[in-house]
């Protein structure tokens, strides 16, 4: 079923494209490819001698985008705008890592991660095409996922980050990989409708994950998961009053927890973070250095940026993953940074449209959950960078460095693309039936 090759004639394939690709994607494709090439080629000159790796990437990134598009659309009629935007953001991450840091190590690693990332995109496309939400395997997978989430407890020392699994050469964060899995499970669970018995198990599963994250002290991920559960629950079952009650209760508990967090062991940093958020310039805390440098980086960009490779964004702590948006602001400037935000919003809107056009509730929730997750992550981290919200340690999807984050986001994007391809095929089938089955001729 994945390989629903359209064994129809060439003409009908053209018709399909014409019907379903309503706006020509070529200008966007060319612009994205040109941007990728120009940036990498420019950066290859950064260190005085021409850097072969950057030149290679300058060719590979656009080529990969182009070939990827051809490959995917040969098999499945996915939404091309979404794919192109995703490729743009992924390339942006490599470009930024090359521009901000003097060594090419991070850029190289990130470029390497693009390969499994693309693979997960393909896997993601397959998921909604294979499943219709009622499979037993989803129910069976739930305990497996919980176990996966618990993995870090077996791999950490007291002082190390508690949400990572370190297997020597590879390290990954289960919470990032489990985001698409959770969306899948919840989409399946909440698409049954209003019957209490059906959805309570899944809601409890979701909360169990949140609790595990709480004990792992990954509060940013916990917040994301919690918002995801609420959103998918509301959209799936329509019980918005219940969700509001749950949100209010959570807000109350949260406030309570924050006020006593100083005394709970290991959570003292919450009070510090809130303090820093309220007044980063007071200089009271050592940790405020990060947000202070971040804000300075954001405002140093001016309208058009400092110039590729000329920024001091490397002075911001953890700029590759946490403060990558500040790096965007400083390297490319405010105009470009706003464009990146608009692109994330467009991605969300396109995803939501696929959710609205989906024919089954499961697919709709799948697309909705993924789109919601991606945009809420974006808003949280950009808010944290700009000090609108306290920093929550989540990553900007696609743009932040990090293999787990990239694979997780690509899986989710793949699922949305998969739903879009199903929608396109359904629409084609409908059109075929409504017209006298002759296809469309000119």
């Amino acid at each position: 079923m994945i390989f629903t090759r359209l064994d129809r004639s060439q003409k009908e394939a053209q018709n399909l494209k014409r019907l379903l690709v309503r706006t020509d994607e070529r200008p966007l494709e060319i612009a994205v490819m040109a941007f990728q090439a120009v940036c990498m080629l420019l950066l290859s000159l950064k260190d005085g001698q021409i850097d072969a790796f950057s030149v290679l990437l300058g060719a590979c990134l656009p080529l990969g985008t182009y070939l990827g598009l051809k490959l995917i659309t040969h098999f499945w009629p996915v939404d091309r705008a979404m794919y192109l935007i995703t490729m743009f953001l992924c390339a942006l991450s490599v470009i930024l890592l090359r521009a901000v840091f003097s060594s090419t190590l991070k850029a190289k690693t990130q470029a390497m991660y693009l390969v499994p990332g693309f693979g997960s995109l393909l896997i993601g496309i397959g998921v909604p095409r294979l499943l219709n939400g009622r499979e037993a395997i989803i129910k069976l997978a739930m305990p497996a996922f919980v176990a996966l989430m618990l993995l870090p407890f077996g791999f950490t020392t007291a002082s190390a980050a508690r949400s990572w699994v370190n297997l020597g050469a590879i390290q990954f964060q289960p919470s990032e990989l489990l985001k698409p899995a959770t969306v899948l499970v919840l989409a399946s669970g909440f698409s049954f409708g209003k019957k209490f018995g059906r959805w309570i198990v899944y809601a409890l599963y979701g909360f169990a994950l949140c609790m595990i994250l709480l004990f792992q002290r990954d509060l940013g991920a916990m917040l994301l998961y919690f918002l995801l559960i609420c959103a998918m629950f509301t959209a799936g079952t329509g019980k918005w009053r219940l969700t509001l009650i749950a949100l209010a209760a959570a807000a109350g508990l949260g406030a309570l927890f924050i006020s006593i967090s100083g005394k709970v062991e290991g959570f003292g940093y919450i009070a510090t973070r809130i303090d820093i958020w309220k007044n980063p310039w007071s200089g009271k805390h050592e940790e405020s250095r990060q947000i202070v440098q971040g804000l300075m980086s954001v405002s140093s960009g001016g309208l058009f940026g400092a110039g590729l490779g000329l920024s001091y964004a490397r002075k911001v702590a953890v700029v590759g993953s946490d403060y990558i948006f500040a790096a965007v602001c400083e390297e490319f400037g405010m105009v470009f940074a706003i464009c990146v935000l608009l692109l994330c919003m467009t991605l969300m809107l396109l995803g939501m449209r696929q959710a609205m056009n989906a024919r089954s509730r499961f697919h709709a929730l799948l697309a909705f959950g993924c789109a919601f997750e991606l945009i809420s992550q974006t808003l949280l981290i950009v808010g944290g960078n700009l000090n609108i919200l306290p920093l929550t340690g989540v990553t900007l999807p696609f743009v932040s460095e990090g293999g787990s984050s990239l694979v997780g986001s690509m899986l989710m994007m793949g699922m949305i693309l998969g739903v879009s391809s199903i929608n396109a095929q359904d629409e084609y089938d409908d059109l075929m039936r409504l017209t006298s089955g002759k296809g469309v001729k000119e």
Binding site: G309, F332, T346, L350, R359, R433, L434
Partner: protein, 173 residues
């Protein structure tokens, strides 16, 4: 290349790159909205696409806006792929009824008559193998309430325009 030259280059390139970013963002937004507008126009079945009339399908227990399906030619309504207008998940038979639009009225000949009844003013009428529906009248089939409306400028039920339904504006490929 010395540092100075690179700096010059990078500083000049700021503007084209920002421009590229703006173009990408605006083009993506344009694509998103344009497709959306086209899709909704498609779904509402404008007369220029050759739609003659519209089915309106509503699940029996729900209120609100019905789903509208454009009628381009006479055909069959049912839940399976063999029917021209496919309505899934509402208890219709595989091929439920054939319809034909003549002189502004829909002539329905039932293939399966179980679960079919009229709604509204004609609710108590007996169901035979043929029903004639006027625009606005509704039929309950399975769990769906199906009605139809004529569009303003009907082109003729078997309009060959049905083949030219989805002409794209602007770019021809």
């Amino acid at each position: 290349m010395e540092v100075q030259t690179y700096e010059k280059l990078a500083v000049i390139m700021r503007y084209p790159l920002a421009l590229a970013g703006v173009f990408i963002a605006l083009r993506a937004l344009y694509m998103a909205f344009k497709d959306g507008v086209r899709a909704s126009r498609l779904r509402s079945g404008e007369a220029k696409y050759g739609a003659v009339a519209m089915f309106s399908v509503l699940p029996a227990e729900r209120r609100g806006k019905a789903q509208r399906i454009p009628i381009l030619r006479n055909g069959c309504v049912g839940s399976s792929g063999a029917s021209d207008v496919r309505i899934k998940g509402m208890g219709l038979a595989g091929r439920q009824f054939d319809y034909e639009i003549r002189s502004g009225l829909m002539h329905i000949s039932l293939i399966r008559s179980a679960g079919v009844s009229l709604v509204g003013k004609r609710a108590n009428e007996e169901i035979t193998s043929t029903i004639v529906l006027a625009p606005g009248e509704k039929l309950m089939v399975g769990r769906a309430v199906i009605g139809f409306e004529m569009l303003k400028t009907p082109r003729g039920a078997n309009s060959p325009a049905g083949n030219k339904v989805y002409r794209l504006k602007g770019k021809q490929q």
